[in-house]
């Protein structure tokens, strides 16, 4: 079990780290949504390079970022393989009697490029600020208070519950329990999860009472202040502007020529 340390490197110094959290969230989210619906493979590659440039500017350790990208690769690479082998189209090469189609490879590569560009952006955004800052910035961006509070509490209790769960698992493995995919081990795991749920439920009742006693009414409050400076507006506009220019590169090229 690993702790979700997405903001391990939030204390580094770089222009992206200094970027105002609200402006950063808006800028990077618009970039992600601009990049994931691209249909042109050349444009997808340019976007990928753009995303990596932002990552390099942010000075996050590359090993950390690549390690966090693994789930995306695990989802996208099977798609690339299956599509290359099954999509009908003109034959590119033939491996052991199975035709690899050009269309399949093209579409698969397009999806891979879009996915990697988007996840690079997301990790650059999240890795350069503390996670509680992200949540507070979301609240200031008018995300509904109920959802923001639930996200905050859940994030806070993940660490407590992870600790508690790994303690219970350690106790079980001390008594010789090994997790396998058979009926006995799974029903034991079921009991373990049931116990975690019961403990969490009791904890939730206590948390609720202590929050009521401190005057909680269900409305969120934060004392954090963010200050948007001119440089934040300039940075946001220039990043989004570059992305839009890249998106329209074919139009611009035809006008120039």
């Amino acid at each position: 079990m690993e702790y979700p340390e997405i903001d391990k490197y939030a204390s580094l110094k770089s222009p992206i780290h200094k970027f105002d959290p609200r402006a950063k969230i808006l800028t990077f989210s618009s970039l992600i949504f601009l990049f994931v619906f691209v249909d042109d493979i050349l444009l997808a590659t340019i976007n990928l390079i753009f995303a990596f440039t932002l990552l390099l500017i942010s000075r996050l350790p590359l090993g950390f970022v690549f390690d966090r990208m693994k789930p995306v690769f695990l989802f996208v690479l099977p798609i690339l393989v299956i599509m290359s082998l099954t999509v009908e189209g003109s034959e590119l090469v033939r491996i052991c009697g199975v035709a690899v189609s050009y269309e399949g490879v093209r579409y698969g590569t397009l999806i891979t490029a879009r996915a990697i560009a988007a996840v690079t952006l997301a990790l650059t955004m999240l890795g350069t600020m503390r996670f509680d800052t992200t949540i507070k910035a979301l609240y200031m961006l008018k995300v509904p208070g109920t959802l923001v509070q639930m996200m905050m509490f859940t994030y806070r209790y993940i660490f407590v519950l992870l600790y508690e769960f790994s303690r219970m698992r350690r106790a079980m493995s001390c008594k010789g329990f090994v997790l396998k995919a058979n009926r006995y081990a799974l029903s034991m795991l079921g009991n373990l999860l049931g116990m975690l749920i019961v403990k969490s439920y009791e904890r939730a009742l206590r948390v609720h009472k202590s929050m009521i006693s401190k005057g909680y009414t269900g409305s969120p409050g934060t004392i954090t202040q963010f200050n948007m400076a001119v440089k934040d507006y300039v940075l946001a506009v220039s990043i989004i502007g570059t992305a839009i220019l890249l998106r329209m590169y074919s139009v611009i090229l035809s006008v120039v020529s």
């Binding site: 994931v36 789930p71 859940t154 999860l193 439920y201």
Partner: protein, 209 residues
């Protein structure tokens, strides 16, 4: 199960977000009408945390390993509030571990949340008819994963006809998860019925009547 960045087309993403936002508004209003939002937020959050932790367990199924989703169990324990709980859980999984894309968040929540609501309905109806709880839990756990896999396949195929074979492989790879979740949900429900029966929706509903 968690659809990643850049896979779905714009119409599918848009529909997913619309369905999710509408269902979030409905379930939050419906789920908090009895006891108020101030009471439900801390409880649902801690429970969401528990399910988040449970979904990090990797079960070795040679040659790989699968991780639990537990949307059926979430539906049984939290009722309609399972939908916002899944939304928060999936958001955090996407932000903290890159499981699932931010663009696909609406679709992923729909694919897992709607089966959770179905599981809640099946569990309540079954309990009222007096079916054995452990069996009912197993059915809900398996059914929820099955419905999620089918919904995911529909989302992939509506994105493009190139995805037909990908969707077939994806559904096939969910069969072991379905069996594992059925066994685990059955045993968790049996455990809860013994240890903390007030957490299951049946007794609560009957008392109120």
């Amino acid at each position: 199960m968690h659809i990643s960045y850049g896979v779905l087309s714009f119409p599918v993403v848009a529909v997913g977000w619309c369905v999710t936002l509408a269902l979030l508004a409905i379930t939050l209003r419906w789920g908090t009408k009895d006891r108020g939002i101030a009471e439900e937020i801390p409880k649902v959050s801690v429970m969401t945390g528990a399910f988040f932790v449970a979904s990090l367990v990797h079960i070795p199924v040679p040659p790989t390993s699968v991780h639990l989703i537990l949307n059926g169990l979430l539906g049984v324990v939290l009722g309609v509030l399972a939908y916002p709980a899944l939304f928060i859980g999936l958001t955090l999984q996407s932000l903290l571990f890159s499981f699932g894309g931010i663009d696909a968040l609406g679709v992923n929540t729909m694919n897992m949340g709607v089966p959770a609501l179905i599981a809640y309905g099946v569990f309540r109806t079954g309990c009222r008819r007096g079916a054995p709880m452990a069996l009912l839990g197993a059915i809900c756990g398996g059914l929820a994963i099955f419905a999620s896999a089918i919904l995911m396949a529909i989302c992939l195929i509506t994105t493009g006809k190139e995805f037909v074979d990908v969707a077939k492989v994806a559904v096939a790879s969910h069969i072991p998860i379905m069996i594992i979740e059925a066994v685990i949900t059955g045993s968790v429900v049996a455990f809860l019925a013994k240890v903390e029966p007030e957490m299951l929706p049946v007794d609560k509903e009957d008392e109120r009547r």
